[in-house]
């Protein structure tokens, strides 16, 4: 087996597992060709740094969506963690202590979601819709809606660099790798997919479904806090508008990555690639200098394309085309047909 075919085989296996890999490469290539400033190490480093918080939050969200749940409160958790980080007693602590406190807060917030979803039969969408407003309100209470600047040591996480690479990238890479490892190689990861795949079978098999679900949301809370650490460190200040609408961006990245919203099927690698693609598109738009209004349209279009590609099986598409034409010819005869 000469090395070339070996590399080709492994690449082929990788693309079969992660269909998004070629899409990202083609996108980067196209942008590098069209815009001269794009194809430079600093730019790729920039994209990676900007994508890091999204990657970290997307890994947590993938675990939640894998259990056939959803977490709308990730944006508000980001803000509350930042608020607590900038609040009086915590901001004075040494960096390691702050890091520990914020991670503990994250797990606490995640557990609030997890226990509510696991113990009561309230659908995850509603639990997190409620906690989204509760966390946002709590954060506002703590910061009193002021802009609070962070001391230098806390900003180090965002702007410092370790072993030559910016810390956010290292953090994101660590979270992605450990997330993937835990998912495929730990019983918790297997149980997550099992619970999402069929809740009844999980009860029958005696799996600790409630603990698994609570664990998934706790993990999502922890990663939201870690994402908040990197995000606020880069921003330098804590402001009331942090994390607003962030949950929709994170969900877009996870759905782009091929994770099914019905639960059971998905991949951590997909979420990471989804986040990178979204950030690359955002950067590409700045480079292309198109009018600012177009940003939302492009983001919606990318999500729609990903969903159509993943959701519709091609046979189904042909059948759908036939149906649509028949639907149109017969004319929609209104609701009282």
């Amino acid at each position: 087996m000469n090395p070339v075919t070996d590399i080709y085989r492994r690449l082929h296996a990788a693309t079969r597992r992660e269909p998004l890999l070629p899409v990202l490469l083609v996108l980067l290539l196209a942008l590098s060709v069209t815009y001269h400033g794009f194809a430079s190490v600093t730019n790729f480093r920039n994209i990676a740094v900007q994508a890091s918080p999204l990657i970290i939050a997307a890994v947590g969200m993938t675990y939640v969506i894998m259990t056939a749940g959803i977490d709308l409160s990730v944006g508000s958790m980001l803000f509350l963690a930042a608020a607590i980080e900038s609040s009086h007693p915590v901001v004075g602590l040494p960096t390691a202590a702050v890091f520990a406190v914020i991670c503990a807060t994250g797990v606490g917030m995640g557990l609030v979601n997890g226990l509510a979803v696991a113990l009561t039969r309230v659908p995850a969408l509603i639990v997190t819709l409620a906690t989204m407003q509760v966390f946002r309100g709590a954060g506002g209470h703590i910061t009193g809606q002021q802009n609070i600047n962070l001391p230098a040591n806390l900003r180090g996480i965002g702007t410092g660099s370790l072993l030559g690479a910016p810390t956010p990238i290292l953090l994101a890479a660590a979270v992605a790798l450990s997330g993937g490892f835990v998912f495929s190689r730990s019983t918790f990861g297997r149980y997550i997919q099992a619970v999402g795949s069929s809740a009844d079978a999980a009860v029958n098999a005696g799996l600790p479904t409630r603990r698994v679900i609570a664990g998934a949301y706790a993990l999502a809370g922890l990663l939201a806090a870690v994402a908040s650490l990197t995000e606020t460190a880069r921003l330098g200040t804590v402001q009331p508008s942090i994390g607003q609408g962030y949950e929709l961006t994170v969900i877009t990245a996870v759905v782009l990555g091929g994770t099914s919203l019905f639960g059971g099927r998905g991949s951590i690698g997909g979420a990471v690639l989804g986040a990178l693609i979204l950030t690359t598109v955002q950067t590409g738009l700045v480079f292309s200098g198109t009018s600012p209004y177009v940003f939302d349209i492009v983001r919606g279009g990318v999500l729609l394309a990903a969903v159509l590609a993943a959701g519709a099986r091609w046979r189904n598409l042909a059948q759908a085309a036939g149906l649509v034409s028949r639907l149109v010819t017969r004319g929609t005869d209104g609701p009282t047909a």
Partner: protein, 508 residues
């Protein structure tokens, strides 16, 4: 009858149920049930649907807590929850497969032992190596790396049994393991049960098939309406008494006499296929004729039925009453007067959490309109239509037609799935395993209904894995083998042997 005297082990019985009771929302499901299963013994648990067999199974397996009474394994009282049963070596094979569609076969089988003791992580390779021998033991023809979503119903049942055997338990509870299996696979399961008994494992075998009970069990526990009505050695019970014990009244023996079929061709199918394994199937059904479709599990019978009704691939040419049918659309089939009774009544038959009235009136909803063109519904007319349908199929609904579909027993649910098509007499009725998993009494009623419909002129396509039922009810029997129609036998030539020969690929 199993030979050799009973070697009942001396020490405490493997499974002991001591006057267990359980009720749901005021209605008692089981009331002070007691019996024991010692190791090295197969105890059959028989009873009509709704007699409480599944409740007992769930209590033993730990998914349900009894209101009163006690379950103990090998003398020690059962711990709380599903884990309790597992720790004391009791495995359960559920009838509704409890598998994870998105996980691999190996992960499903070893779901509660994913990590080897002392190892920190899960090794997929080790899982596959551990699962392969168990799969071979149940004779599964597929590998441990397959994803369960891609397996057929029969294959999933084999994985379910392999999962129970993997824990090499001291006692196993089988809940109708052979319901969706064909003859060859059923034979394999029975041999496994006999092997388990020889190895000293205690087996509680829940089944509707009286011949299986007769062959496998030493003792039979018969339940009716939540009580144990008999707990006697199998040798003392012949088929007739067993049936009457279960139903509590005399059962009309045999099948109703068949009317003479008409000669005008009602349904003609030409080289039908679903784009997959099934192809080239052609047959005709005359007016008032019952055409049975037999064959091994996975031979494509369900696919044929679904292809005709537009639910699966649309290759081939179908004519109803001479009119060509536009393929691939359920609504066109219904417009042409066809009806389809689905195999999986709980998920495709009726609404479990909507009133029964809505499940009954859904097909003919347009005929219940008050004013011709508008969509307005006339409640009074709908109530009259549904009550007349319910009486036509002898539906017994304790809470009236407003109660939810889920509150009914299996037999009554099946009557609804059939009843909703009978507003106007259908020209063609396709039935896919109409009497699977329902009790003897309800089964007889459905047989009478089918024959009545045939008399009224509808032509019926009956698919059933129960050889006795297909032979008893059909004018002609088509036998499927590996996706092809192996042959069509007339009622006179059709016997169990000839059908089996065709079903297993032999010549006519």
């Amino acid at each position: 009858m199993p030979d050799g005297e009973l070697t009942v082990a001396s020490q405490a019985p493997a499974i002991a149920v001591a006057n267990v009771s359980k009720s749901f929302g005021g209605i008692t499901a089981v009331d002070s049930v007691s019996f024991v299963v010692s190791s090295g013994e197969v105890v059959a648990l028989a009873g009509e649907n709704g007699a409480g067999k599944s409740t007992i199974k769930n209590i033993i397996s730990g998914t349900l807590r009894p209101d009163s009474g006690q379950v103990s394994f090998g003398g020690a009282p059962a711990a709380e929850g599903v884990g309790g049963a597992k720790h004391s070596g009791v495995a359960t094979v559920h009838q509704e497969t409890s598998l994870f569609p998105d996980l691999t076969v190996a992960e499903n089988i070893l779901i509660d032992r994913l990590r080897a003791p002392g190892r920190a992580t899960v090794q997929p390779g080790r899982l596959r190596r551990a699962a392969a021998p168990v799969l071979r033991r149940v004779g599964a023809g597929f590998g441990p790396e397959m994803v369960v979503r891609d397996l057929s119903a029969g294959q999933r049942q084999l994985v379910e049994i392999a999962k129970a055997l993997a824990a090499d338990p001291r006692a196993i509870v089988f809940d109708e393991p052979t319901a969706s299996l064909n003859l060859a696979e059923r034979e394999l399961i029975m041999r496994i049960v006999e092997q388990l008994r020889a190895d000293g494992v205690a087996v509680l075998y829940i089944s509707h098939y009286l011949e299986e009970i007769a062959r496998l069990s030493q003792r039979v526990v018969v339940m009716r309406d939540g009580h144990v009505v008999a707990d006697r050695p199998t040798s003392e019970l012949d088929r007739g008494t067993l049936e009457s014990l279960m139903v509590g009244r005399e059962l009309a023996q045999g099948y109703p006499t068949l009317p003479r079929p008409g000669n005008t061709r009602r349904l003609s199918v030409r080289d039908l296929g679903d784009g997959g394994r099934v192809s080239g199937v052609s047959f005709d059904i005359a007016e008032g004729e019952i055409f049975g479709l037999a064959g091994l599990m996975g031979s494509g019978r369900t696919e044929v039925a679904r292809a005709i009704f537009g639910l699966a691939g649309n290759i081939g040419h179908i004519e109803v009453n001479g009119g060509r049918l536009r393929r691939g659309s359920v609504r066109a089939c219904i417009a042409a007067g066809m009806a389809f009774v689905t195999e999986d009544r709980r998920h495709e038959g009726l609404f479990l959490d909507r009133p029964i009235r809505e499940s009954l009136s859904i097909v003919a909803l347009d005929s219940v309109r008050r004013y011709r063109r508008t969509g307005w519904l006339d409640n009074g007319c709908e109530r009259r239509m549904t009550e007349d349908l319910a009486s036509k199929v002898h539906l017994v609904a304790r809470g009236g037609l407003g109660a939810d579909g889920g509150s009914l027993s299996g037999g009554n649910q099946q009557k609804i799935v059939l009843g909703k098509w009978l507003v106007s007499p259908p020209r063609v009725i396709i039935l896919d395993e109409p009497t699977r998993g329902i009790d003897v009494g309800a089964k007889a009623e459905i047989h009478r209904l089918l024959v009545g419909l045939a008399q009224a002129g509808s032509s019926i396509l009956l698919i059933s894995s129960e050889m006795e039922e297909v032979l008893g009810l059909s004018h002609r029997i088509g036998v499927m083998h590996d996706g092809r129609l192996a042959g069509v036998l007339d009622r006179s030539q059709a016997t169990q042997e000839t059908v089996i020969r065709l079903a297993t690929g032999g010549s006519q």
